[in-house]
Amino acid sequence: MINILTGIDSTSSALNAERIRMDVVSQNIANVNTTRGPDGKPYTRHQVVFEAVLNDQFASTSPPGSRPLEVRVPRVELDRRPARLVHQPNHPHADANGMVSLPNINMYEEMVDLMSASRAFEANLSAVKTARSMALQTLSIGKR
């Protein structure tokens, strides 16, 4: 198969990974006040784990000694920090002391995560654009 945009596979996998990260962050933001989950406990903050994987399929086109690496999200892990306790005696999910466990989500943290995911996505998009314009500029060698 001809390889027109070289190195685009790593970028594509990174775009995918950042997309998943953004999905998880928005899921956290959506559930910031969720006091009951399917397991009967308040929602727990999720966070993505990125992992570099070898891409052997395109190893032949890369310079010798360097194997192309891709990013993937092997799993989404739970944040182990304790839940926030708020005193709300009239809440249906309040315990005997009138305390309600709210998810261990800090909205500022989530906003920073969202921005960082968005910026990383943008950076990878710039890589795609640069690869594309390089290919087009190379094709213009043949024009006169």
């Binding site: 198969m1 001809i2 027109i4 945009l5 685009i8 594509s12 775009l15 995918n16 997309r19 998009l125 795609v128 594309r132 290919a135 087009l136 094709l139 043949g142 024009k143």
Partner: protein, 128 residues
């Protein structure tokens, strides 16, 4: 109708050396003397016939394969767009990258075709 099939049929005959010679030149060529007549004149001067086999399907096959790969890339892009439209698990950037790859490889193919035609026309302009 696949637009690439037209190009394939355009590219393939042009690659054959004999089709580069126009028909009227064929008629103007001196008539060749049969080998048997020449053998009678001086035996042993003629080279053995068919010592050099013309290579078949070298460049022609390469061009055809290349056009096939461009078609494959376009099919890949179309599949990706279909998957995205029908709500399969295809992401937007994968579709855009596939479309971009198809577009660039098509442009590369057009450039190759331009070069081929240019060299053919250069040959046709040559004074004999």
């Amino acid at each position: 109708m696949n637009p690439l099939s037209a190009l394939r049929s355009l590219a393939v005959p042009a690659m054959r050396p004999e089709s580069m010679v126009p028909a009227n030149l064929e008629a103007a060529k001196p008539k060749s003397i049969p080998f048997t007549e020449l053998e009678k004149l001086s035996p042993g001067i003629l080279p053995l016939p068919n010592t050099v086999q013309p290579t078949t399907g070298g460049f022609e096959k390469m061009v055809t394969d290349f056009v096939g790969e461009v078609t494959a890339k376009q099919g890949e892009a179309a599949n990706s767009v279909n998957g995205l439209m029908s709500g399969k698990n295809v992401s937007l950037h994968q579709t855009m990258i596939a479309m971009e790859e198809a577009s660039i490889s098509f442009q590369l193919m057009v450039e190759v075709r331009n070069k081929l035609l240019e060299s053919y026309q250069e040959l046709m302009r040559m004074q004999v």
